[in-house]
């Protein structure tokens, strides 16, 4: 039952991303990539190699929809690799939050830091790798900044609204 719920949640978030959030483009300045919520809220119960494989798999599904094979995989794998490292720095009693990671369990301040760092990293990789060169480095930086702000805002709103 628990697994069906997780799989359903994954499918719904990815479909929302490709249908709705990919379209929220602000004149080429950027768009929110809220699907990384799936990776942010993943419990710390499994070995990290499995987390990275799950990250790669979610990235692959996004790449199929975005025609950018490899870009989302690389960014999601980096995110799942850095996630426990950053969480250990931000939270003292890591054992307590193993099952659910949200703004309530780790505190709003720590949560903002947690998603901000990882979102910037993920989005920078997405836009940088998509361009594959730094000819338009200014555009890459602008898109990274705008998209990150949008993603972080939406994820925080979601975290505060839900119980």
């Amino acid at each position: 039952m628990k697994w069906i719920k997780i799989i359903l949640k994954t499918i719904i978030v990815i479909l929302l991303q490709v249908t709705l959030f990919d379209r929220l483009h602000i004149q080429g300045w950027g768009y929110p990539m809220v699907y990384i919520l799936l990776l942010f809220s993943m419990p710390l119960l499994y070995p990290q190699w499995l987390e990275m494989i799950i990250g790669a798999f979610i990235g692959l599904i996004m790449d199929i929809f975005c025609n950018s094979l490899g870009v989302h995989i690389a960014a999601c794998v980096a995110l799942t690799y850095l996630r426990p490292i950053i969480l250990k720095k931000l939270v003292q009693d890591i054992e307590r939050i193993k099952t659910d990671i949200n703004s309530k369990s780790i505190g709003i301040g720590a949560y903002v830091k947690y998603i901000t760092l990882l979102t910037f990293c993920h989005h920078f990789m997405i836009f940088g790798l998509e361009a594959w060169n730094f000819q338009n480095w200014d555009l890459i930086l602008i898109q990274t900044a705008c998209s990150s702000v949008l993603t972080i805002l939406l994820l925080l709103i979601y975290n505060l609204v839900r119980k």
Partner: protein, 274 residues
């Protein structure tokens, strides 16, 4: 054995991370040849079916605008037809080749089920594939001008590389019949750069840019856009100019795929030359 494996995996996260990243980077590097896999792109039947269903729902919200666009195109085609009928007999007498050269092209109508315009490497997904006769390298045009070239085809869907893709180069002709190319800088989906037009060739703002007819993907003379801006003062041997595209990628919904009936002849001659 299992314990050993667990041990290795637990203490070698960095190794797994590196392997996955290397795989991802190899995939990205190969993708930029602009030929994508039919399974690992939006021509994938599951992904494309979803995109198609989504587009069908969205269509209902744009019926009014679509009607206006169709009526306008209808009017334009009718006036063109009138001109053709008036000159028809004259042309057949004068130059039968002219009429035949236009019979060599057949149109496959298609619907755009997905499009990206704000990336560096943009693509369109169409709802026609190999079973409808679509092949790689076929040209795609919209109501206003050229859209792009088919790059990947699955059974039911096709992926199109538009003019707004930083890796692509289109062969074009300016008003004075000089040949040039287009190149997109990755920034604004309304403009592309004009390349390879030597400085002594006069070009002005508003000049029409059309397809050259040198590739088997497009007939000659299909509109690409008009010169938007000519930058002066660069010491280059070539003009620096931008073209305002006739196709508006942000609103495009229906396109036609061009089937060249002489393609085989063209390819065999090309092979002989090579």
């Amino acid at each position: 054995m299992r314990n050993l494996l667990d041990f290795l995996l637990r203490y070698n996260n960095f190794l797994i991370f590196t392997i996955l990243e290397v795989v991802a980077f190899i995939l990205i590097a190969n993708t930029h040849e602009y030929q994508l896999s039919t399974v690992l792109s939006s021509t994938n039947s599951v992904a494309a079916s979803y995109l198609e269903a989504k587009t069908s729902v969205e269509e209902y919200f744009h019926l009014h605008e679509e009607n206006i666009i169709l009526a306008e195109e209808n009017a334009r085609l009718k006036s063109q037809l009138m001109n053709v009928q008036n000159t028809n007999e004259y042309l057949i007498e004068r130059d039968s080749q002219y009429i035949y050269s236009h019979l060599d092209w057949e149109y496959i109508p298609a619907k755009v089920i997905d499009i990206s315009i704000h990336k560096q490497h943009n693509y369109l997904t169409l709802n026609k594939g190999t079973r409808d006769g679509v092949e790689k390298d076929m040209g795609v045009i919209g109501a206003d001008g050229i859209v792009g070239i088919v790059s990947t085809v699955s059974e039911k869907y096709a992926l199109v590389v538009p003019l707004i893709h930083t890796d692509i180069n289109f062969s074009v002709r300016v008003a004075t019949n000089e040949l040039g190319g287009t190149k997109w800088n990755g920034k604004n989906f309304k403009y592309v750069n004009l390349t390879q037009i030597a400085r002594h060739v006069p070009i002005n703002r508003g000049d029409l840019i059309v397809t050259s007819g040198l590739t088997p993907s497009f007939p000659e003379g299909i509109s690409i856009g008009r010169i938007h801006e000519v930058l002066e003062g660069t010491s280059d041997d070539y003009h620096t100019a931008t073209i305002a595209l006739s196709t508006d990628y942000s609103t495009i919904k229906y396109v036609q795929i061009l089937q060249n009936n002489n393609r085989q002849d063209f390819d065999s001659i090309q092979n002989e030359v090579d």
